[in-house]
């Protein structure tokens, strides 16, 4: 088993700080509320380190990266300037954790469709993805912060 795993262990060391990032965004979701909504997704990086600088949903209002934290049962939400995406790492934006706080747009989005989400990375540049639009009462899968 050890000899089998050795090549994989070696592979995981391949991405170093100078290597360009190789980023994919999966499960993008925008959960809407009357005042805007929240964006969630998973960033997987198969290359060198990067940073997520901005996340926007053009069809909606101003957006910023926030992080929810729990402090003795008290929910606190804070603005985060940028999020480090480590080399060969995965960063999740999920309920009760990091999320994109999005203001309401001119016209409200309808649950069930998709909307464009733009993620701007320091090195990888702008990445566009189609996010599933979900109502506030939609998928209620809670997450332990």
């Amino acid at each position: 088993m050890r000899t089998l795993l050795a090549p994989f262990a070696a592979l995981s060391l391949v991405a170093c700080a100078t290597e360009p990032p190789s980023i994919t965004v999966t499960e993008p979701v925008v959960r809407i509320t009357p005042s805007g909504g929240a964006g969630y997704f998973t960033i997987t990086n198969a290359g060198g380190p990067d940073r997520l600088l901005r996340a926007e949903v053009p069809a909606m209002g101003p957006a910023m990266i926030h992080e929810t934290s729990m402090d003795g049962g008290i929910m606190r939400m804070r603005h985060v300037e940028a999020v480090d995406i480590p080399a060969d790492g995965t960063v999740r934006f999920e309920r009760g954790g990091k999320h994109v706080m999005i203001g309401a747009g001119a016209a409200p989005l309808k649950p069930g469709g998709t909307t464009e989400m733009r993620l701007t990375f320091e090195k990888a540049g702008v990445l566009r993805t189609d996010a599933r639009v979900e109502g506030a009462g939609g998928d209620s899968q809670g997450h332990a912060p």
Binding site: R31, M64, H66, M70, G73, M77, I102, G137, H143
Partner: protein
Amino acid sequence: MSLRTLRISLWGLVAVAALGLAAYFFLGRATPTQIEATPYGAPFVLTSSDGTRFDSAKLKGRPHAIFFGFTHCPDVCPTTLARLAKLRKQLGKGDEAFDIVLISVDPERDTPAELSTYVSMFNTPVVALTGTTNEIAAVTKSFGIFAEKVPDGAGGYTVDHSSQVLLFDRAGNFAGTIAIDETDPPALQKLRNITDF
């Protein structure tokens, strides 16, 4: 007995003790006999999402789950409300089993109309209440709820607040809380406890 086996058996004991403690907390707490009938919160009159005044006496005789939140909260509040709606469905006793009560901690922005639009998104009956800043402050104080306005980093504000759901039985007695990071099975058991008679 070698040191190694002694170490292993000691760790075994630690594991057994930890399991026992976990069982006590997760199972013991959920049994009806463990729930203390403590008076909690003071009677209140607030404004409902339909614009009418809502007296907490209306909750008498109805099990209810009170959650403090606000409509501009994009992450935790909708997650909690949607979860309560889901748990009420799973309970299988209909929407009358217990009332879901949302009390706004952002009375400045949460007008009755705003609340009404908000709760309509959950496709389940929710009693949504707001009031004047003073009325809300009195209610949060009496329920021991922390709520504080903080800048959101873009010229607006957000409200840090206690996130637990407060449970009350039919007699209006405080019957525990559901924490945000609690898994569904114990949460469902607690709701069963306040709705079983």
